[in-house]
């Protein structure tokens, strides 16, 4: 019976966390963001300020979920955390929670947001102030990403394009490798595991496991794209090889994490 009370508590806490996230986003959008548009006229200064606030807010939200014992989490490779340099962060995406943790760790990183979120009344103002990239137009998306990296900043992409379908090996869509290949940046690979899984692609929010999940975020050392693919001149083969190399990097870390039981 011991697990049952904890289970009910986590079910309740999950509902509460969704409510807090929605209300938090709305309050931010109503009371914090509009003054920023008034007082910070410069778009890039506003972007920096909005992202700093989002990072703090997400950090607070991770803390809030963690004190409710919704999950345990561990961040490995903190020495590689840097959201100021020119780099492309590549991460797998097992759960809704990983993105919240990542943005709290890399607040100034730009990321690509689903068009649905861009239009979501709870999030719209916040996302607009932070100047994130929309995924609405695929052709422009690649362009926006390469331009942003060209300005010497950090960009975060989930190459899977959506959350992982469980019981399937992770697969990358070609976009992230294309951006990396065309910008010749440093890639910062991040492997994320969530065991048992929660808030994955196919799970409803109330699908709460008996055992408290462990989320591991393993940040690897950054490495230049040019080291990942050697001796390939055809741009199309290059980006295919790069995609394979990035996928191998993340997959082998996930295998290692599964093997060592994290």
């Amino acid at each position: 019976m011991g697990w049952y009370f904890e289970y009910v508590q986590r079910l309740f806490s999950t509902a509460l966390s969704f409510a807090v996230f929605g209300i938090g986003g709305l309050l931010f959008g109503l009371f914090v963001i509009p003054p920023m548009f008034v007082f910070i006229r410069d778009r890039s200064a506003r972007r920096v300020a909005a992202r700093a606030l989002i990072g703090k807010g997400f950090g607070l939200f991770v803390w809030f979920m963690h004190v409710q014992r919704l999950f345990d989490y561990r961040v490995e490779g903190r020495e590689h955390i840097d959201d100021q340099r020119r780099q492309l962060i590549i991460a797998n995406h097992p759960t809704l929670i990983d993105v919240v943790i990542l943005i709290s760790l890399f607040p100034q990183a730009n990321c690509v947001i689903k068009e649905a979120v861009m239009q979501n009344p709870f999030m719209r103002a916040v996302v607009k102030a932070a100047d994130y990239i929309s995924n609405s137009e695929p052709a422009e998306l690649i362009q926006s990403c390469t331009e942003y990296l060209g300005r010497g900043k950090t960009l975060l992409l989930f190459p899977e394009g959506t959350r992982t379908r469980h019981n399937e090996a992770i697969e990358f869509k070609p976009g992230a490798a294309t951006v990396a290949a065309r910008t010749d940046v440093d890639v910062l690979p991040v492997a994320i595991s969530c065991q048992p899984r929660i808030l994955s692609k196919q799970q409803p929010w109330f699908h709460v496991p008996r055992k408290r999940p462990m989320i591991t975020v393993r940040i690897l050392a950054p490495r230049p794209v040019s080291e990942l693919v050697v001796g390939e001149d055809n741009p199309r083969n290059y980006r295919h090889d790069l995609n394979d190399a990035l996928l191998d990097l993340i997959r082998s870390e996930l295998d290692d994490m599964a093997f060592s039981g994290v």
Binding site: E137, P138, A139, I142, K173, G175, R236, N237
Partner: protein
């Protein structure tokens, strides 16, 4: 530019840049399943077709495209 020369042009692009066998390029060949064109290639192909024909297929219209015949039809509709 007529349909035959456009077809030849598309075949040249696919063969030279996307490593497709010339024999595999037919009007009914499915770009994504048979010719292994991915979404990035599709965008590159659109850009090059625009350079050749001066016509730009809208991304929404291109999403409906499956075969090379569909590409020619989409260009003819413009």
């Amino acid at each position: 530019m007529n349909k035959d020369s456009l077809f030849a042009k598309i075949r040249d692009i696919l063969v030279e840049q996307f490593d497709v066998e010339a024999a595999a390029v037919t009007m009914d060949a499915n770009l994504y399943e048979e010719l292994e064109i991915d979404s990035i290639d599709a965008v590159d192909l659109l850009v090059q077709l625009k350079e050749v024909t001066g016509k730009k297929i809208a991304p929404e219209a291109f999403r409906e495209v499956r075969t090379i015949g569909d590409v020619l039809d989409a260009l003819a509709d413009l």
